[in-house]
Point group: C3
Amino acid sequence: MEAGKAKRGNYFEDFAVGQVLVHATPRTLTAGDVTLYTGLYGSRFAMQSSNPFAKAVGYPRAPVDDLLVFHTVFGKTVPDISLNAVANLGYAECRFLKAVHPGDTLSATSEVIGLRENANKTSGVVYVRTTGINQDGAKVLEYVRWVMVRKRDTASPAPAPVVPKPAERVDPATLGAAVPELTIDRYDFDLAGSTHRWGDYAAGEKIDHIDGMTLEEAEHQIATRLYQNTAKVHFNQHEQAQGQFKRRLVYGGVVISLARALSFNGLGNAFHIAAINGGRHVAPCFAGDTVYAWSEVLETAAIANRRDIGALRVRLVAVKNCACADFPWRNAAGEYAEGVILDLDLWLVLPR
Amino acid sequence: MEAGKAKRGNYFEDFAVGQVLVHATPRTLTAGDVTLYTGLYGSRFAMQSSNPFAKAVGYPRAPVDDLLVFHTVFGKTVPDISLNAVANLGYAECRFLKAVHPGDTLSATSEVIGLRENANKTSGVVYVRTTGINQDGAKVLEYVRWVMVRKRDTASPAPAPVVPKPAERVDPATLGAAVPELTIDRYDFDLAGSTHRWGDYAAGEKIDHIDGMTLEEAEHQIATRLYQNTAKVHFNQHEQAQGQFKRRLVYGGVVISLARALSFNGLGNAFHIAAINGGRHVAPCFAGDTVYAWSEVLETAAIANRRDIGALRVRLVAVKNCACADFPWRNAAGEYAEGVILDLDLWLVLPR
Amino acid sequence: MEAGKAKRGNYFEDFAVGQVLVHATPRTLTAGDVTLYTGLYGSRFAMQSSNPFAKAVGYPRAPVDDLLVFHTVFGKTVPDISLNAVANLGYAECRFLKAVHPGDTLSATSEVIGLRENANKTSGVVYVRTTGINQDGAKVLEYVRWVMVRKRDTASPAPAPVVPKPAERVDPATLGAAVPELTIDRYDFDLAGSTHRWGDYAAGEKIDHIDGMTLEEAEHQIATRLYQNTAKVHFNQHEQAQGQFKRRLVYGGVVISLARALSFNGLGNAFHIAAINGGRHVAPCFAGDTVYAWSEVLETAAIANRRDIGALRVRLVAVKNCACADFPWRNAAGEYAEGVILDLDLWLVLPR
């Protein structure tokens, strides 16, 4: 006798446009999370690493790494949104709206904003807008995500298609909400590890972040559990051995965090991710792969009413098992080069 | 010249009934431990994950996971009790008596309550009652454990046998001491991730917890060191390569924690382990094994003077490399099915 | 187009005697770091493990493990000093000057105190004195290190050689600055796990620390990232596969920490490393190696004006894949025995 109390996740036909899902397990982030995040990725941005550094410029204390916030909120959505996903298709309109500090508690809700059944009737695309809030109900994060989800029953009727068109990029006028007014005179560029301010970067500039980092099963599993992300493909070798890849897949967020940590070398003052304009996990990553990264500055933008900070729109590309001296990306036909695993479009914030 | 200052652990003849052992290394548990515990097992119970959730219902802040308390206390006993153990035979009468919060410091003592030499005179069974206390001297945990320990010298005389008879189960009237009076009206079942209260479960009900988690060497080693547990078999591949299994054994407590974390899916409101009635590590677990779990409700019990919470007696079974849709346990002859690694008898507490 | 904003580290000709390097990324150490350090090495010294234990004797709270302080400061120096190192040649005159507690923020500077080009003109030895300070500018750590660094261009002219002569050992009269005046009457030797005080050790005494610990890739990588140490050889299998060892090298500091943690068994009251007189990484260590350790007391010394504590000068030797019952060290010809990986000369502090 099975109780039916254990959840198997939602299927395509369980979603309806306008539906709001309240995700389980609010999470108090602490100094412990900051430490483990550092141990897993080795990030070196001074703002997130040092309370006195952050206080000197105007934060109450060091903020939590933006991606730890993202992964925590994202992880909460997995049991409701993507447990039966075939593929994670994309992100857009992701904005970091308020700094998160140790002691803050994050919870998340998602609104279904689009649905489109696939022609083969075995799956469909679910579009959600996910919101992460803190213990005071203030929004800390917002993003749109679309994901291909299996149908429980191919005979279920298709919903009327609703296909949102996310913005191609977040409007730079709206950036910087998570950054207090900073006193850049007190920003110590020696301690930050880079002399390059916002104005020192130009569109078209490419930066090889040089270093590579080899991933281990224990590392990506610990990371993904830290986010309480329950996607089976990351954890269950017994099941994965029967699947397409024969191996556990690394959570794409681990690759994002590694690439971001590597990007310190060349973008050392880009202390804040203000927005993720879009992102694609181009190819899977597995334990044993070595991740490299490079960036291209796509655009520079002032931020309205901010003399302290400016924004760079950057393409951050992660590549596996291949150094990035020649910036591998797409070939003439527009296909991704061998080894490219992540193509991320970010707004970064730097001191002016 | 060897100093003799390094300890090699006690042998069977070093124990005497009535002896009290004060275990070394008190341990201040912190937010760091809570984080690393989450990273190692991925537990998702809202009560341990969120300070606001816990405060809303009546805790001063989120309590530390009961099993982190158990493993911390247990770990302290290893150098004195089981460094020369042949086998860990069982647990009983384990009660969680007071909530532990980050900042609390745990220390442990054990009283020898029984001794029985084995017929072959090479070893004997040692029974201890271990008590974990906090920095104020308040008991937080108590349990009976029996373990087969080698003799230093087979010629040593056997002690008079004393064989305690632990209770078959902890009396439900005594449960719940570690749970403050809760305001269940303020318990958010959406955030908890399950709508099922105490009264929604019935004896005989079985729950497949569905997910599987593959263990890595680094994970179980980090976990076991976190508990300052020094049992050699978990850490020393150079020595284990010469042994029966040729591999490091996973600390049984890691399996308990994994099974408990997996049990969230189906028992999401069972936020507290009030007691461990008994437990057996049926077969060893190794890195590379995938752990699944299922539960059977054995009994439901009200708790005296508590309208807020009720107790479920649950058999929690962990199985390796085999999904649990058909609830593998024992065959007709009473033998454990292939793959069963843990058979644990728990009292769980849920909101009424 | 490469921006040149990413750093490739200094080469031999980039250093000048008297030059002071301010290292990037100050780091606030927290309870999270204490936890992860425990999980990685399993250290059991009561002073670092328990706030009440430390407070009882006179610390404001438990101090952070001395080696976590060392590795954190050392890690900051890597991008500036040793990214292009051929070999880490030695340490000397390392003194721990002030206790570090969770919440303290460490930053580091190094002064170049010596330079000597090698005869082959492809590299040279760089001598630095590194200082770690806390958020108040107080020195917490100081050490001399020398490292062989590649030249960018073999044709670069050699600098005038300056070769410092570090002290053979730190003067014991200067030890103990990091230890407050302790009330040894309140030092609980049961909870410390050892009855042996400073006066119970004698020069010439050797101690086998018995246990062995097998290292995993994930463990040493997490440890080394925790210290924000960016040395490529520890992380990049894709590149290392082409190198001399075909594998990632374990950061020598991981071996130091493991040996120190193992040394608890026999030196349980040696709660503080007051100084590192010298150290050599005799041979590389790789994932899969099992690390054992033994110690020899070289010298005992009272500390001026301290009736509470005394110092032991100890050689701490780590050996891989070989138990230490017969204390492997050097053969008659002075060569290190097979398996020896670390030869460290320490001043340890114990209660009198």
